[in-house]
């Protein structure tokens, strides 16, 4: 665990804890774009993601008094967690997280991707956003938040089996989409 302290981050945190609006602005400027990306990764729709970003920041400014700065990275991790929770709240109510879209089941065999270093991050982001809600959410939680299928199941009110199948299908579908993209680019 990183013990080094980012002075800039620490001063921002202290300022926000005192309700200082300048500090809040600095926090927003430093992290809003990354956090927007987190929200979009989860909810896909840009407008809704903006709403969630807004709600998340209000929550952050409210509860930052309880936050304990633990060194470099701890602030970003906490902010991301808040945004993730906000996104999940929305998804639990509005997304069909149980659904398995059979139409999109790829015919591709088990050979999965080995290297995607040639694909740009923005393209990958686009592809992830195109996944069905259920697949995308499980993928996010498993890959980006390091959650186990058991944890995902309780967070999304689905079964563990559903979680693992959706993750499996998400990978398959993403592989197919990447392949299609590559084919398209080569033309």
């Amino acid at each position: 665990m990183s013990q080094s302290i980012d002075i800039d981050e620490l001063s921002i945190v202290r300022g926000c804890q005192n309700g200082d609006n300048t500090a809040r602005r600095r926090l927003y400027e430093k992290f809003s774009r990354q956090l927007m990306s987190v929200c979009m990764r989860y909810v896909s729709d840009r407008d809704i993601a903006q709403d969630i970003l807004h709600d998340g920041f209000i929550n952050i400014f409210d509860s930052i008094r309880r936050f304990k700065y633990m060194g470099e990275g701890s602030l970003k991790a906490w902010l991301t967690k808040v945004m993730m929770n906000e996104s999940l709240k929305y998804l639990r109510k509005n997304a069909k997280l149980n659904e398995i879209s059979y139409d999109e089941m790829p015919d591709v065999a088990d050979d999965e991707e080995s290297d995607i270093s040639d694909i740009s991050a923005s393209v990958l982001m686009e592809l992830v956003r195109k996944l069905p809600d259920g697949y995308r959410t499980v993928l996010n939680l498993y890959v980006f938040e390091d959650k186990s299928h058991k944890e995902i199941a309780s967070m999304l009110n689905i079964s563990e089996h559903t979680s693992s199948s959706q993750y499996f299908r998400a990978k398959k579908l993403l592989t197919t989409m990447i392949k299609e993209y590559r084919d398209h680019e080569e033309r």
Binding site: G19, N21, R24, R25, Y28, S32, R33, Q34, M36, S37, M40, R41, A49, Q50, D51, L53, H54, D55, F57, I58, F61, D62, S63, N85, K89, Y90, R92, K93, N94, N98, E112, E113, S114, D115, I116, S117, I119, A121, S122, L124, M125, V128, Y142, V143, F144, D146, S148, A153, S154, N157, K171, L174
Partner: protein, 446 residues
């Protein structure tokens, strides 16, 4: 570790997207700034209201203390007047004496103090009380006859003298009988005069005033449980509390005010969602100080602590939600009390007044229930910046266990005004309620 399970490309995916950035229009910050600023102000207002309440409590205590000490001063002055009265009175009664002196003589005789006005004179009522009996008063020892009576008596004695010429013995015996009768009359009247005087005194003399400190605990009469059809409010307003009007609030999706969007998958399913609310009896503790204004009236103030707890269960089909709301208030009551019956050990009194409370903390815990297992989803602070006003009346019965210590019970009714906070509590459900306070009281003399 899970990471071993992940393929290389997944790890690459993670690395590429972890720090990815998306553009955000400036309007989002404007909204955030505006909405977050709105929350700062209530925070300060809360401290202002607490400060106001404390100042009010201090000022009223000081005022009552000053009132008491000023009446104490008057009492001391009157004590002086009484002693002056006694010293200055003349021992022998004559027809020319003023009522002032006559009363003084009476009081000195029986060694009973007389209540006077501030300037040492007697109140008109007192004089009136005694004057009617005094008119007939005749001091038997000195055979003094009031001026009014003298002409009649003189006439009588004149007649007697005339009659005496006819027969000496008969006139003498007649005058003797007259003297006896007038003596008896005089002593009766003197007695009556004294009775009037002391009766008046007994009703008006000031006794030392008391004040007392009480500790009490109390509760409201009912829990409140209700089942409603409709969507439960989840975070539908900036205060994150349980809302009063589920349906209309839920349709409020995003607006200029800071209302967190309340998301429902399908609005048509709202009616099929069942919500169960339960407001528990509040827990109340109080410390109060009661000042006696006079024999019958008193003024009471103090500090109270109230704890309100509510539960909300909602079945949303795929999701079961459970919320717990807990609110803590500090309040300052002001009450006027009136003694109804005062016996040796038991005291019955009535009391009426109001109270202002400020919330000091509020928490909303949300749990979701999946497969029978409960998970804490979030724990949030409820920020109410509104004061809670209430009025009430009660009857109290106090039993003295010792000279300065007693226990009491005070049942009554209370009405809670809507604090316009939008938070749902038992006070919103049942604004008019029955409550009872039980406590101990320590009495002190000023």
């Amino acid at each position: 570790m899970k990471k071993d399970d992940k393929e290389k490309w997944i790890e690459q995916l993670r690395q590429k997207l972890d720090d990815f950035s998306e553009d955000v229009p400036e309007s989002v910050w404007d909204r955030i700034e505006k909405d977050s600023m709105r929350k700062i102000v209530p925070f300060w207002r809360r401290w202002q209201s607490i400060a106001a309440i404390i100042i009010l409590a201090i000022v009223s205590s000081v005022m009552v203390t000053l009132w008491d000490s000023s009446s104490e001063y008057i009492q001391k002055q009157q004590d002086k007047n009484i002693s002056n009265l006694n010293i200055e009175s003349k021992p022998i009664m004559t027809g020319d004496e003023t009522n002032h002196d006559r009363i003084a003589i009476l009081s000195r005789e029986d060694e009973k103090p007389i209540k006077t006005k501030k300037d040492g004179t007697l109140s008109k009522n007192l004089v009136k009380a005694v004057a009617s009996d005094w008119a007939m008063y005749n001091d038997s020892e000195n055979e003094t006859i009031p001026a009014k009576e003298s002409p009649q008596v003189e006439k009588l004695s004149q007649k007697e003298t005339n009659a005496a010429e006819k027969g000496n013995i008969s006139s003498e015996s007649k005058s003797e009988t007259n003297t006896e009768t007038s003596q008896k009359q005089a002593s009766n009247q003197k007695r009556r005069a004294k009775e009037s005087l002391y009766q008046y005194n007994a009703n008006n003399i000031k006794r030392e005033k008391q004040w007392s400190i009480a500790l009490n605990s109390g509760g409201l009469g009912v829990n409140s449980t209700s089942n409603i059809n409709g969507a439960m409010m989840r975070f539908s307003n900036s205060d994150y509390g349980l809302q009063q009007d589920p349906i209309s609030s839920s349709l409020n999706m995003g607006s200029d005010n800071f209302i967190r969007n309340n998301y429902f998958a399908d609005l048509s399913t709202i009616n099929s969602i069942k919500t169960k609310k339960k407001h528990y009896q509040p827990v109340t503790f109080g410390l109060s100080v009661k000042f006696e204004l006079d024999r019958d009236w008193s003024l009471e103030t103090g500090l109270t602590y109230n704890y309100l707890f509510s539960k909300l269960d909602s079945d949303l089909g795929s999701d079961m939600l459970h919320q717990e709301q807990s609110l803590k208030y500090i309040g300052v009551p002001i009450k006027i009390g009136r003694n109804i019956v005062s016996l040796n050990k038991v005291n019955i009194y009535g009391s009426a007044g109001g109270e202002v409370e400020t919330p000091i903390s509020g928490k909303l815990k949300t749990y979701n229930v999946v497969n029978g297992k409960e998970n804490l989803e979030s724990e949030e602070d409820i920020d109410i910046s509104k004061l809670q006003f209430s009025v009430g009346a009660s009857i109290g019965a106090e039993y003295k266990l010792a000279k300065r210590f007693g226990i009491y019970a005070e049942p009554g009714i209370v009405y809670y005004f809507d604090d316009n906070s939008g938070i749902e509590t038992i006070r919103k459900e049942h604004p008019l309620n029955f409550n009872i306070k039980l406590g101990v009281r320590f009495t002190f003399l000023k």
